[in-house]
Amino acid sequence: MKTLQSLSLATLLLAGGAWAGDHRYALSPTYAAECGSCHVAYPPALMDAAGWKVTLQQLERHFGSDASLEPQAQREIASLLQAQASTRSAHEGKGAAPRLTTTAWFQRKHRPEELRGYPLPKVPAGARATPMAQCQQCHRRAEQGDFGEGSLQPADGRR
């Protein structure tokens, strides 16, 4: 880990922003600020470039909210997402409003048997919310891009 951490940020970014294999994602400050204000900044490497492209094309009507960006931030985030997006078909973002939580990879990693001890986050009645999109409820350091095992905390250990 030490040696990995001492690698320059540029190298990490060129490599897709992830510490290979251990699911800790380095997030750029712009991405973390702009795409991490209403929810966890979802790791760019967990969806494909086509999925991110569709997401960015309709930010004014983004899952029922206005998430539009200034042109400069829009350009910066678009190139970052294209550079860091996954190239694996298991990460394909599908449909008119692509989601990480519906990719084949995500669903395989979050099958009910994997989630034993991790109750789905409760959403208020009537709210059109997606419990699985609330990564931070199970991955306690999701805000820092850390989805590694050490960030997982089962229900009985909750605050």
């Binding site: 940020l9 540029a10 970014l13 060129l14 750029s28 400050p29 712009t30 600020a33 204000s37 209403c38 929810h39 966890v40 470039a49 086509a50 899952f63 029922g64 909210s65 206005d66 998430a67 539009s68 200034e70 400069q72 931030a73 910066e76 190139s79 970052l80 294209q82 550079a83 997006a85 986050p121 959403v123 208020p124 709210a127 059109r128 919310a129 999109a133 609330q134 931070q136 409820q137």
Partner: protein, 140 residues
């Protein structure tokens, strides 16, 4: 998608240099003065903003599912949570959170988004001024 290396490098360098988004420092008093001047163009009789009007604006749903309080809670001196994603939101009242109303671009961006989501239109200068007048009365 194929990404040529020099471009990816450029992106990485831009990121290393920190965010390229400029901050635009301001203060609650500066914002109030600008909004008052703007509001007087359509309402020359306006003397001062009203914290009372701001308070009711903050907790009214304006015909949609949400009010400002849905995410910022009915006590903006405390933190809230996004109504859909449950992401925690820091307090909106400047006395509780000095970073609020200190960056004009950020203030404009969020008034733009949140007013559209809650009112279905942009907020007027008078509404913004009343709201801030109310927030300035809130103690942590």
């Amino acid at each position: 998608m194929y990404f040529p290396r020099p471009l990816a490098m450029g992106v990485a360098l831009a990121l290393l240099a920190g965010s390229t988004l400029a901050a635009s420092p301001t203060s609650p008093a500066e914002l109030q003065a600008a909004w008052l001047a703007e509001a007087r163009q359509s309402n020359p009789a306006l003397r001062a903003f009203s914290a009372e009007r701001g308070r009711s604006f903050f907790s009214t749903t304006h015909g949609s599912d949400w009010s400002c309080a849905s995410c910022h809670t009915s006590n903006p001196g405390q933190g809230g949570a996004h109504a859909v994603t449950r992401k925690l939101i820091e307090p909106l009242a400047p006395a509780a959170n000095p970073r609020r109303f200190s960056d004009a671009a950020k203030v404009d961006k969020w008034f733009g988004r949140n007013c559209k989501d809650v009112l279905g239109r942009a907020c007027t200068a008078e509404e913004k001024g009343d709201l801030l007048a109310y927030l300035l009365t809130v103690k942590p």
